[in-house]
Amino acid sequence: MLDKIDQSALSDQSVKGWAVQTGLKTLKVCVFTAGVVTEITADVARLGSDLPAMERALNSSKESFAKGDLKQGFRHLGNFLGLSGREVGRATVIVSVVKNVAAKFISVAEREPGLINGASRAGRIDYSKEFSRDIARNFKPGYRIFEGRTAKDIVLVQFHPDKVIGAGRSLKYWTSVDEANAFTSTDDIMHKLAILPEWGERGAVSVARIPKGTEVSYCVGIAQLKKSPLTSEVFRGGGKQYLFKDFDPSWIVERRTLN
């Protein structure tokens, strides 16, 4: 279960102070490596509380990434986070999930756009690769692409395999609450969102809330018809679907398994 990060609670104190106050002994950071999540556990007692020192470590990290030395870059990031985490060889985006040190990291990274190699927006999983081609293949004509700040909170629902994010499932495709509430059965979900059963059960559902004013990039439209290449069964689509260019796991507010 992912917890939302209350960054405002961090504004006037160090990450370490916040973590200690919260009563946490360990924090978790997820490193996304070419779409695969590596989870690193950090001991709160080892966290740094000196922000200037942390920023120096970030700058060193930035220089290493700029030189293409990812290994060294992550070593510096490890220093920044006070992590004893294992070495990560290849990465595109670092994000944080769970109650984490990276809330502070995000605030620094946002002042340093492009800090991390390949990161479009700190804290988010990048799905921008082949975004246009994905739209062309999986949306009916008439879709709309939105890029900008949300005018109000957006609440989304995703039916997904009961797997870990980045290890068997993604946060790319979502549907609206209205659409989700109109589904009458699992079969209805599969048909309207054109999800083929041979790719596994949708054993869980997640709800995400994107706060008003958040900068987002997504495509919204109607799910394209799909035909199973194994059974020839037709999944008519027609349901409303969103495809995100990037997505922040901290937007997820609820996750349940389905019976």
Binding site: E130, N138, K172, W199
Partner: protein
């Protein structure tokens, strides 16, 4: 067998080969079980699709229908295999 179908099968063979290599790599590096399961499922589904195509049992394309390969493979990987899944969906939608 017509040229378009032959091209589709050749592209599928390439995707199967890449998926098998990916599965091998994931298994050898003791990767997350969820990833290994998805790689296994991908090899299985692509192989079954290839057999159907070779036996003339692939569903006829209509109304822009997709085979759902990019949707489902893109849910767990973001590399060459995902690009091949997009290529296959595109090929099916535009050339067959």
């Amino acid at each position: 067998m017509d040229d378009n179908l032959q091209g589709f099968i050749e592209l599928t063979d390439k995707a199967i080969s890449v998926a098998k290599n990916k599965l091998k790599q994931l298994t050898e590096t003791n990767s997350n079980r969820g990833l290994i399961e998805m790689a296994e499922l991908t090899v299985k589904n692509l192989t079954a699709m290839r057999d159907n195509a070779a036996n003339g049992k692939l569903p006829r394309p209509s109304n822009g229908a997709s085979l759902g390969l990019s949707y489902h493979i893109g849910d767990w990987c973001n590399d060459e295999l995902y690009e091949l899944a997009l290529d296959l969906d595109e090929y099916y939608q535009t050339k067959m």
